[in-house]
Each structure stands twice: as C-alpha cells, then as structure tokens.
Symmetry: C2
Subunit: 406 residues, 2 copies
C-alpha cells in the first residue's frame, strides 16, 4: 500500500476533540509535573492493551475492567509511583482517584482509565494525587502545548519527550492520529514501564478499534526490548473522538486499511522512540529477521539477540563480534541450519554457509559505528519475517539501575 499518512505537529491533542493537562502534585522526587490528564470531548470509542504480567499493578486491574465496560473517555496518569504490589490498598487508591476525577470533570468513575509509572511496592501517596486533580482539570486545553505538557509529565528516566501526530488520508476525507509515550525507564528507582496514550478523531466502532490496536501493538510495542523485564504497568490506550470530517471507518473498507496502516506507523514511531532513549543507550538497533519458517520464529530470533547482554555489549562498543549474534540465533530457533544462515551488519555480509564471510573487520566495524545499527539475519528456511528493535547495554544502564538506591 502506498503511504497514506504524513507527520504533522503535536501529539495527543493533534486530533480534534481532545484536551490535556499536567501539574506537579509531588508524587515523585524529581522536578516537574507528575500528574497528567487526557480527556476526549465525546463518548467515542476506546481500546487498550495491558501488560500480560500476572503481577499487574492496581491501575491496570482497574483499567482492564473499565475498558471492558466500554465507556472510557479520559485517562489519569501519574509518574513517580507505579502502585504495583500494593494489594487491596492499591486498588482503593485507584478507586479514589477515579471517583475524584469523575467528580471534578462531571463524568463517572468508569469513564477513567488510570495509569501509573514509578517505583513498585510502595503505597501511592494518594492524597497528593487527589489534591492535584482539580488543578489539572482547570488546565485542560486542546492546544499543542497542553499535549506537550502531558507527554512531559508521564516521563520517568526518559531523556526526551516522546510524541508524534500523523494525518491520514482515508480516501474520502482524512483523520488525525496523535500519541505520547514514555520510555522503559526507572524512577527512584522503579520498574521498566511503558505507558502510551493514542488519540484519533476518526469515527470508528469500538470492536474494530480494539482489533486494529491489538494488531498494531503486536507489531510495534511488543517487538521492542530494552532489558527484557516485563512491566507490571504497561498500558497502551487509544481514544477515538469521531469528530473528523470523514465518514466512519468501517470494517473491511479501504479506509480501515489506511487507518490501520497509520495507527501501526504511529505505534511504530513511538515504540522506536522508546528504544532510542533506552536507559544508558547510545545506539538504536534494528534487527531484521527474514527467511524464517514462521513469524514467531523470526520474532524469537530477533528477541534472542535483543535480550542477550553479550550482544548488547558488542553493540554498545561497536565491536563487530558477529559470532554473538549468530550464536543467539542458534539457541532461539530449533530449526536453524548454519549452512543456510546469513548475517549482514548494515550492508556487509559477515557470515554465510557456516563460516565467516570475507568482509574485512574494518568494514564490519564501520557498519556498527553509527547511532543506528542494522542487523539482518536471513535464516534461509522460509518466507516469514519480523523486525525487532533494541538498544545497547552500557555502564550507564548499570549505574541507573544499581547505583541509585531504594
């Protein structure tokens, strides 16, 4: 399909019908806003995906229920405390948050998705959050600046704000999609946590939105890894206001195809931003696995490389120690055949037919020297392919996650 989208200014407030706000309520020790609100002006459609960790944070447990009830139109997000491993008290704190948000905004508690990021296993200082809510509500605004502030407030150890907006041409009329996300980071220190908030002014039914979001997340958010530790708080929410000047997106239509392509691209851009800003990382690594017997096998090989500290250390220093990548593929794919496997670093063939290719080490080193590195593995076994994104492992990662004490 021809590219049907273009990037436009802004983030979650770029589509019509969304307002955002952020304030500091003092939950996190670091400076800056730590409470954010996102509100959709209409009762459109909402869909979300959550962590599959059996240890799910209280806000995830609350939000799963509200998403099932189908009435979500706003999100309350805090940084500085993940409200995970907090038992019954954690759930009571989420309920109080939703109740107060409902009161302040004239909505119902089940209209609110709640998301938290930060340290695990500490009770949420909920009073601070409740105090902050009316202030946040009074600042709700549809401007790009308000969206910026939202995106900034959900950051933890992220070093850059992560947001994007796309205009998508549906054929007849166009829609806008926006999003903000936070990186897999630590706070004071907490857990690797990914939160993502997506918005669109498309008119779309909830089941279709849910299906398209699930597919987009599978191809993007679920194909990144910084440290292979699944969060207790992962949440990707997508809200649709239906306020665009375009006909509704119907299942099976050309417009649905285009919308899905744009939604996937939105998720891809945000997910890759997370990896590019991985804790202590200096390189973004794109691992393309082709010639795989199945897509699952391709993903497994990509993940094995992405999750190997040995591979990540080589990627950090730009060391063309390609045996590490090949050996990771060897334990990830039971059907791997060395004789058919090829490894390219950038455009340079490093390994083929079970032995080193002829590339001089200087060319391989050059291919690993940039801010972005491409590894391409051709398994020679079939037609399936997948891309996985990761980053390098540095002393700074250890410093961020070890030297900082609870």
């Amino acid at each position: 399909m021809k590219q049907c989208w273009e990037q436009v200014a802004g983030g979650v407030t770029a589509p019509r019908g969304f307002r955002a706000a952020a304030v500091r309520c003092g939950i996190r020790q670091a400076e800056g806003d730590d409470l954010a609100l996102l509100v959709c002006d209409t009762q459109g459609a909402a869909a979300a995906t959550f962590t599959t960790n059996r240890v799910a944070a209280a806000p995830v447990r609350w939000s799963r229920r509200t998403i099932r009830r189908g009435k979500v139109r706003a999100a309350v997000v805090n940084a500085g405390n993940a409200n995970a491993c907090t038992g019954a008290r954690g759930l009571r704190d989420v309920e109080a948050t939703a109740a107060r948000a409902a009161e302040v905004l004239g909505l119902r508690p089940e209209n609110f998705l709640v998301a938290s990021t930060g340290i695990i296993g500490r009770y949420l200082p909920v009073e601070k959050l409740l105090e902050g809510l009316p202030r946040a509500a009074s600042l709700l605004d549809p401007s790009i600046e308000a969206g910026d502030r939202f995106a900034r407030a959900i950051m933890t150890t992220d070093t850059v704000v992560k947001q994007v907006a796309l205009r998508c041409d549906l054929g007849r009329g166009s829609v806008t999609l926006g999003g903000a996300t936070k990186g897999a980071g630590m706070i004071a220190p907490g857990m690797a946590t990914t939160l993502s908030f997506l918005t669109t002014d498309a008119a779309i039914e909830r089941p279709l939105l849910a299906r398209l979001l699930r597919r987009a997340v599978a191809q993007t958010y679920n194909r990144i890894s910084i440290d292979n530790h699944m969060s207790t708080n992962d949440t990707v929410l997508c809200l649709a206001s239906g306020l665009a000047d375009a006909p509704a997106v119907r299942d099976g239509s050309k417009a649905a195809e285009r919308f899905e392509a744009a939604l996937t691209e939105l998720c891809r851009i945000l997910a890759v931003k997370i990896v590019a800003d991985g804790e202590g990382a200096k390189r973004l690594v794109r691992i393309e696995v082709v010639g795989a017997p199945t897509e699952a096998a391709a993903v497994a090989v990509g993940r094995a490389i992405a999750d190997s500290p040995l591979c990540k250390c080589a990627l950090h220093s730009g060391d063309p120690n390609w045996g590490r990548f090949v050996s990771a593929a060897g334990y990830a794919c039971r059907r791997l055949d060395e004789a058919r496997t090829k490894l390219y670093i950038g455009e340079v063939l490093a390994y083929a037919a079970g032995a080193p290719a002829d590339a001089p080490i200087s060319r391989l080193a050059e291919a690993m020297a940039g801010r972005e590195v491409l590894l391409r593995l051709d398994l020679g076994l079939g037609k399936a392919a997948a891309t996985v994104w990761t980053c390098d492992l540095s002393k700074e990662y250890v410093a961020i996650n070890a030297d900082y004490h609870t």
Copy 2:
C-alpha cells in the same frame, strides 16, 4: 539420604587412573598455558553432555560423534579460540587435532574428545596446537599438581581456578570423583563458554554413567546463568577408569544412589564456582523457588529472576528493590497468584498477600549486603521446587564485554 561424600584434595587427577598436562602453545594472547590434555589409563566408561545451541562449534560436533561411538578416554582442550562458526575448515582442524593426539599417545582419533573455548568465528591456528601436543603428552602426570595445571589452562576470563574432588562411600568400598571447570567468560573477546571435565575411578557401565551425568547436569549446570547467552561450545565430559577398590556400580543399587548423589554434588560445587566467578560479579545469588505447581515452573521463575538485568542490577548494589523479583516471577509463571506468593530475602519476608510485608528496608538491605544472597519465593501453588544460581550485573561486566574490541 545421609551425606555419603567428603571433599578431598585435588581435581581431575584425584581419582585413580588419570593423568593430566598443560602447555602454552600460543593460541591465546593472554599469558599462560592454553592447551590441556586429560587421559584415562583404562578404557572405562565415558559420558558427556553438550550445548543444545543449533550453532554448535566444530569440536562439539566432533565430540558428539566420538561419544556415541563409546570409546572416548581422553580430552584435548584449548583456550583462546572456540573454533565455532568456522564451517568445514573448523571440522578439518578438529580432525587434525584428534589425529595428532592419537599418534602422539598411541591411541585412535575416536578416543579423543576435543573441546575449545575462546573467540567465535575465527579459524583455529591449528598448527600451534599440533606443535603443542607432543610437549603436552610428554608432561602427562597423575599428580595433583598436573591436575591443577590442567584446570588453570582451560580458564578464560575466570579469576580463580575451579576444581574439586570428592571421596564417596559406596557402602562396600569407596570411589573418588574429581572435576575441573571453567567459567562463563570472554576471551579477546569470545563467547560465554562452559567446559567441564569430570573423572572417577568408579567401575560403571556407560549407559548408567550417561544417565546419571545427564540428571546431575540438569540439576546443576543447567540451573546456572550469568548472562543468559547459551554457548556454542558447552561440554561436560565424565570419564570413569574403573580402578577404585570397590565393586562395580550397578543400576538400581544403593551404591548407584550414593554415586549419583556424589556426582551431583561434584557438579553443583563446580557449577556454583562458575557463577561465583561470573564476569564482573561480586555476589553469588541463590534463588530458591518453592510451592511451585511443577518443577519446570519453579525453574522458569528462578531463571526469570536470574536473567533480568533489572534484578541483577539491584542485586549488584544490594538494593532491596524486591518488586523487581516479584514482577519477574509474574511474567515467568502463568499460574502465579499474587495473593499466595511470598518473597523472602535471606530470612526476611519482603512480600506477602499481594502487598509489601512489614519488614523495615534496613533489614532487607542487610539481607542483600553479603557476598552471598538468598532469594526465596514461595508460590503457594504446589509442592515442586527448584534452585537456580546467578550473580549480579556490574559495570565491570559491560567493560569486559564491550570495551574490549575484537
């Protein structure tokens, strides 16, 4: 079973009927011996386990065949080059090695297991090795010192020699077991590689020895992790000379039970030594998972903690950020129930009934401050249990594996 073994001096040459030697042949850049020989004076029994990585080094491919033929009675080992990802030339180099060793020692090529450790994807400087073999053969000796020298020659980034010997009381008569192993380390830099050479003077049939070794390895070597990157060269060889003053160990006998207990203990001691000397590590971590629905589930939970860089960073700094351990259990065990899960750090209860226990953070920190740390997870789901050993992740690990360039 009452403990039937006691530790005695020495390593691979402690049992009767074994001679060892090591020389420097110049394969590795670092100083010291890099070619080692271990010979059994009789044609007793031999058994081995190998890496399950589909990318298996040439020596592993050779040795699998020789083990199947049932005539192995010696090992040629080199450090400095893993001879992995080296295709047909790699195999020819192994064949040449075995042929020369056979010539020098008056044996046949299929009597030799060959093992290599070091950098992957570089051709072995086989001439150096062939030159070193006669010198090594001339030094073969049954002394403890010769065993020491063997154990030292197989080291890569290991900082301490790893060997042990046990005397095992079989009821009627006793046997000795010895072993030397190398750590999961890098060389110049290579891959994490574990080689282990076990010896015994017990008289035992090959099928029984093979079964007991497989079980012992499953409980010990296969339950350690330093960086979750499976080597292309892993080899555990056990040679039995049959020269002890004790009746043969028969399947199903009390003696077999005792021998298995001692063999497992031998492997456990050596495997734990590997983890204790993990690259850059300062803590040995024992993860006991109990109350699991199955042994596999217990191992999976232990491994998830052992393989999480986040958990390992907390273990490095002694930070009692226990949410990291619980959350890893949450993604490793699909049946995990937060309400039933308990986490102890040392003797201190950190988490129970889905929420923080009352332990003051200072007590938890104290339990994590030592050279050895115990994590104990009770899943409350069943009667299965498993122990996994790991170490912490430090900046030194990154330095060893990143700063050193190929």
